[in-house]
């Protein structure tokens, strides 16, 4: 069982089960986790599924691709730990992943 925890801007935490191979964005939507809008449906084309990867997970999750880095220009309050959650695929190695959602997506 793979679990992902989402912490919203107010600090509330939600842990849900994630399917291997789905994305962190899809997992949020499927479980009605607020704070992720995903307007474009996962095409890396809108920057409304922006998350901050928790410090202990950044090395494991890895860096954004060039295209994702470009798209992050359209996100707000981007930090070194910023990723677009539609571009993070859930793998067994990500069991226990913690991400935080920003105050505003779009």
């Amino acid at each position: 069982m793979t679990r992902v925890t989402y912490i919203d801007a107010a600090g509330a935490s939600r842990t849900v089960e994630a399917q291997i191979g789905s994305t962190v964005m899809e997992t949020a939507l499927r479980n009605s986790v607020p704070g992720i809008e995903a307007e474009c449906g996962g095409a890396c084309a809108c920057a409304t599924c922006h998350v901050y990867v928790a410090p202990e997970w950044t090395a494991i999750v890895g860096k954004p691709s060039q295209m994702e880095e470009d798209m992050l220009d359209f996100a707000f309050e981007v930090r070194p730990s910023s990723r677009l959650s539609c571009q993070i695929k859930v793998t067994p190695a990500l069991d226990g992943l913690v991400v935080a959602t920003p105050a505003k997506q779009g």
Partner: protein, 345 residues
């Protein structure tokens, strides 16, 4: 004030659903005009993912989003639709009766359209500029903070700060620097998604000392009575610096907002428009809705669903537009009358 345009059907939204509705209406001798807030045809397909392949359009194992839009435009050519692009519908007024509906539409560009039927094919709503969550920014909007440039002259001799790394940001840096007192570009990183020639032109201006480029993100605004005097910049290593400015232009792309549709007297359910699945008509007779914006039991937000919905809406629209005519169902494969309309008969 421009004169009023009369048409059979006004379609709000020029994405795939709205475009194909033109075809289904055209086969029934119904003329349509389309209005879209984007400056181009194609809705989300053109704006969000033009290069992405789509795999679930019947008959096309794979087609790019822009390719689909281009084909739809070709397919509706025989019906000569009129497009009003870059215009947002601000108001929708009911003029007629439930039996003989008539509507007046006004756009933010001053266009007035009168139509017997309205089809809302607005997808996720209207694309509007993303507004950065900088504390107090609303107090400056329209006076010192702008999300689009309408008149270049407005920025003459002003200290203009432009934020972003895309084409809009870079284009306005290049267009405003000859006019403004000083142009400063702020971006979170020293890499840009904008077209390389714009980036090169910008870098040359920076090297020549004609404009400034600052690395960082805007953290706060300073000013009085809606007029900015400076903004606070947070650099990558967390340092805070002030940057003097009169006007701020943030370019963070577009987001979809329901917008004025909320004010048109339509029933709404979680920002969607409920319709029946026989006619795709809303609670207001004569106003239809199709595509991603509708809600009904079992609704799927697929392009192919939008096509089906447009075909059925056209059937009922025919009853409003030609109340005395009986509609005979025909196939494009065999009907010479349909083929003549398509210019192939």
């Amino acid at each position: 004030m421009s004169e009023t345009i009369s048409t059979d059907v006004a379609i709000i939204g020029a994405g795939p659903a709205g475009l194909f509705a033109v075809f289904e209406l055209g086969l029934l001798d119904i003329k349509a005009q389309l209005i879209d807030i984007l400056p181009k045809i194609g809705g989300q397909c053109a704006e969000l993912y033009p290069e992405k392949p789509i795999y679930d359009i019947p008959g096309f194992p794979v087609v790019s989003a822009q390719g689909l839009v281009d084909n739809l435009v070709l397919q509706i050519q025989p019906f000569h639709p009129t497009f009003h692009l870059g215009e947002m519908v601000e108001s929708l007024e009911v003029l007629g009766t439930a039996e003989r509906p008539e509507f007046r539409i006004r756009t933010d560009a001053g266009t007035t359209l009168e139509a017997k039927v309205v089809i809302i094919a607005a997808g996720g709503g209207s694309f509007q500029p993303k507004k950065p969550p900088i504390p107090g920014i609303h107090d400056y909007e329209g006076r010192s903070v702008f999300y689009a440039v309408r008149k270049i002259e407005q920025f003459r001799d002003r200290r203009v700060v432009i934020v972003g790394g895309g084409d809009s940001a870079l284009d306005w840096v290049l267009n405003l620097y000859p006019v403004a007192r000083r142009v400063t570009l702020i971006h979170r990183r020293d890499a840009f998604r904008a077209a390389p020639h714009s980036v090169n032109a910008m870098r040359e201006l920076v090297a020549e000392g004609k404009i400034d480029f600052l690395l960082g993100q805007v953290a706060g605004l300073k000013g009085e009575g809606g007029q900015l005097s400076a903004l606070t910049l947070r650099t990558e290593n967390g340092e805070i610096a002030d940057c003097e400015c009169d006007d701020l232009l943030p370019f963070f792309g577009l987001t979809m907002k329901l917008g004025p549709i909320a004010d048109w007297g339509l029933d709404l359910h979680e920002n969607l428009v409920p319709v029946d699945t026989q006619k795709f008509e809303t609670n207001v007779p004569g106003i239809f809705a199709i595509g991603d914006i509708v809600a009904y039991p079992g609704k799927l937000k697929l392009i192919l669903s939008g096509f089906h919905e447009g075909a059925l809406a056209a059937q009922k629209a025919h009853r409003y537009i030609y109340p005395e005519k009986k509609l005979v169902f025909q196939y494009t494969t065999s009907s010479t009358s349909l083929q003549r309309k398509l210019g192939v008969g």
